[in-house]
């Protein structure tokens, strides 16, 4: 394999692994100990990168999670006066890892269940309160040694090998750090990973593509807590002593600072941040007392100010800066992309027979307080048919669209999709049933590639989970999902832009990308919200051709649109609304001469 064909991450590994392997051979022991601490910090910080930088959630409880695991490990390793139920785990490092992992994940799951459905402020506040609670708990529980902590831990023994020296622990710690990096990279490059990365693009979009956003958040939070638990286990065996102080809220804030300084948006930022902060802290602790003439925790002032400046000037941190200036991973030349090997296409849904009623809307009324936004709306849409909903701005089209796509539920009346009632169901359920949509205000992930954006639409057509992704057991399925995304992108005419960032496309192309994403879900009903807005003339023609082809295949399409030229030349039937009411329905020719419609469009001028 040529180096040029390797991914940037693989190239970093190629340099990093031999370097790390050589370090203990040349460094004095106290430096190796420092490197061990950096490794442990990097592991916990990696969790923050996944949670905050990629998932867009904030936690200050990472140190508390490390603490739960470290205490569990120390408690079992010392093994005196264990309660009978835990006796069998006593003295075993595996027992410590197991207990630490289970307890950490249980606390994380509880906190996550309580806060992740709420707006973004509740998780950080919850983790601050709980971080403090746990800190006081560690300091007050008799069997955890109170404020003096637990000491006298035996050295770590795994598979009969004693890891009692800093150098031997070094290899274990850094092997686990690199393993965690690989697992994280694998996870992010998968269907579940895309769901986590999509969290920042608005939950409504993800849910409409069938992504369970609560679950995606929970996965990120639990994996992040899992890294903390692993770090805690290593920490206990590195120090062979635990006390409450290293797991305070301050330490939780330090982990966040490491991630931010290193670069919270990049996996490697965790390693960079842990290293930079550790060295900077040491240096400041040496020098600040000389400058200030007093000893104390004054380096926090410098770190705090550094974070403020970073947030104001360089929110990407060091890794973000490096990525921008070295330009790696941003734009891979097309030749560097592996040529797709042919894969078996994904199974398709059996399309309904042409003419079958796909959508039946009966007497739908929507009230907002005293305002009637939709009044007694009824119509049908059949397989192999395009229906346009038109009307002046403010006529209630968006309200109707929201109800059809299950974002909102009608006050009264019913909506049936393939005979099944869907009003009151969630957008996510409907994505699975074959209803797919686009958004009036384009909702894409601007820094993700066009291909990945489209692949979010195929979320429900894969089933591999987090573990499979982490271990790369999902490659066959992933190839099929990406192949489907590639196919749909080719079909809408974006085949040339697969690896461009979605944010770099023109607005019209972004709208088309949304259609490709919707098609990746293999729908039988497509809801399009102003698909032609912002498109150039030729693009409109191409879009019309595409929609005609889809119709010929048996797709049912509902579109809300203002562009009359586009609508009249394309659709089978037009449904006209004004002031929340239906004022006309019929084929384009009759609508164009319908007096009520003319009045609506001429309204209020005479």
């Amino acid at each position: 394999m040529r180096i040029a064909s390797l991914s940037p991450h693989a190239r970093i590994f190629l340099v990093l692994v031999p370097l790390l392997a050589l370090l203990p051979l040349v460094l004095p022991t106290y430096q190796v100990t420092l490197a061990n601490n950096i490794g442990i910090f990097a592991l916990a910080t990696l969790g923050i990168v996944l949670l905050t930088g990629i998932g867009g959630m904030t936690s200050f409880g990472q140190a508390a999670f490390v603490g739960i695991s470290a205490y569990s490990t120390a408690y079992l390793a010392i093994g005196t006066d264990l309660p009978a139920q835990l006796g069998w785990l006593g003295g075993s490092p595996w027992g410590g890892l197991l207990l630490g992992m289970v307890l950490t994940l249980a606390v994380a799951a509880l906190l996550g269940a309580l806060t992740l459905r709420l707006s973004g402020h509740y998780l950080p506040l919850g983790t601050i309160a709980w971080g403090l609670s746990l800190f006081y708990l560690f300091g007050n529980l008799e069997f955890l040694g109170g404020h003096t902590g637990l000491s006298g831990m035996p050295a770590l023994r795994l598979f009969g090998i004693s890891l009692d020296r800093a150098e031997s622990l070094y290899y274990l710690i850094w092997a686990l750090v690199l393993l965690a990096v690989v697992v994280t990279l694998n996870l992010l490059d998968s269907r579940e990973g895309r769901a986590i990365r999509a969290l920042r693009g608005g939950q409504r979009m993800s849910e409409s593509m069938g992504v369970n956003t609560f679950r995606a958040k929970m996965v990120a939070f639990l994996v992040s807590a899992g890294f903390a638990a692993l770090a805690g286990w290593l920490y206990a065996y590195t120090q062979r002593f635990v006390s409450p102080a290293p797991f305070s809220l301050q330490a939780g804030i330090d982990f966040m600072f490491m991630a931010l300084i290193g670069g919270v948006g990049q996996v490697w930022g965790a390693l960079i941040g842990a290293t930079a902060v550790t060295f900077l802290k040491q240096w400041l602790q040496d020098w600040l007392p000389h400058i200030l003439g007093r000893t104390g925790n004054f380096e926090s002032i410098v770190f705090g100010l550094l974070i403020v400046v970073l947030m104001q000037r360089m929110p990407g941190g060091i890794a973000g800066w490096l990525a921008r200036h070295l330009g790696h991973a941003r734009k891979l030349a097309p030749s560097a992309q592996p040529a797709p090997t042919p894969v078996e296409p994904l199974p398709r849904r059996a399309l309904p027979a042409k003419g079958e009623a796909i959508l039946e809307v009966r007497g739908v009324t929507k009230r907002f307080g005293g305002l009637v936004a939709n009044n007694d709306i009824s119509f049908d849409v059949h397989a192999g048919e395009i229906l346009a909903v038109i009307g002046p701005n403010g006529a209630g089209k968006s309200t109707l669209f929201n109800q059809l796509s299950c974002v909102d539920r009608p006050t009264s009346g019913e909506i049936r999709f393939r005979g099944r009632r869907i009003d009151g169901r969630t957008a996510r359920e409907m994505a699975g049933a074959g209803l797919s949509r686009t958004f009036q205000h384009v909702k894409l992930l601007p820094t993700m590639s066009v291909l990945e954006n489209a692949a979010i639409g195929a979320h429900l057509r894969g089933g591999k989970g987090v573990a499979a992704a982490a271990l790369r057991l999902d490659r066959r399925e992933e190839a099929r999902l990406l192949d489907e995304a590639r196919r749909q992108l080719g079909r809408v005419g974006l085949g040339q832009h697969l690896h461009a960032e979605a944010g770099s496309l023109a607005l019209g192309q972004q709208r088309i990308l949304e259609i490709a994403r919707a098609l990746c879900a293999d729908p039988c009903l497509l809801l399009l919200d102003e698909p032609a807005a912002g498109l150039r003339h030729l693009e409109k023609q191409a879009l019309a051709e595409l929609l005609k082809r889809l119709r010929a295949e048996g797709m049912a399409i509902v579109l809300v649109e203002h562009d009359m030229d586009f609508v009249m030349g394309l659709v089978d039937r037009v449904f006209v609304m004004e002031f929340g009411e239906q004022i006309a329905e019929g084929v384009p020719e009759t609508i164009q001469t319908n007096p009520a419609v003319l009045e609506a469009y001429l309204g209020g001028v005479e």
Binding site: G503, D563, G603, G604
Partner: protein, 254 residues
Amino acid sequence: MSPHGHQAPLLEVRDLCVSYGKIQALTDASLRVGDGQIVTVIGPNGAGKTTLLSAIMGVLPSRGRIAFAGAEASSPTIKSMIGRGVSLVPESRALFGSMSVEDNLRLGGFRFHPRPRRAQDAALEEMYALFPRLKERRAQVAATLSGGERQMLALARALMTRPKLLMLDEPSLGLAPLIVREVFRIIADLRRQGVSILLIEQNARAALRVADYAYVLELGKIVMEGPAAELANDPRVVAAYLGIAGKHQEMLAT
């Protein structure tokens, strides 16, 4: 022909550009609003009409030149534009929903605060004379008003800032025909009182009827301009923006 005579226009915008990240939402837009004129910008949804107003008001950062009343006003901020006498009624109306009609109006005069109570009350009474509905509803919370009343309140609140130029973003949005007629009557009235108006409307027919001069915005570019009456009869405009009704007229004409 020059639509503005020889005097300097009240507002002059030259080569205004706005981008959202990598997307260029407005490209080299140039327009003028003469003193005492109503100028309208029409165009399809997503053409950049709201972006244009936002950029002129300083809600969005822009590149290009803006001059107001003969003085340089490029890279505006909202504060500087209000100070110059420009007021914007955004599409959302941006009312203070949980506060009373009267509080909304008094806050409209915030930039003159603190000034003698009497002057404030006089300005308020003037608004109540112009919009009697609002006087009836003075103690009511803004969020509970009907769509038409909310638009009236938004207009009145903007007028409390004593603007020389009033910019309106889709004032007819979601209003019943009778109310739309009322809104356009008020717009015409305001012009008579010396307020210049830059109007963005999706209801192109109504806008062209009330305006002196018009611009057509498409995909972020000004593609056509001219006296409103001429534009209203331009076949391209009729086909594209006067919608079905335009088609109908075309059919009647042939």
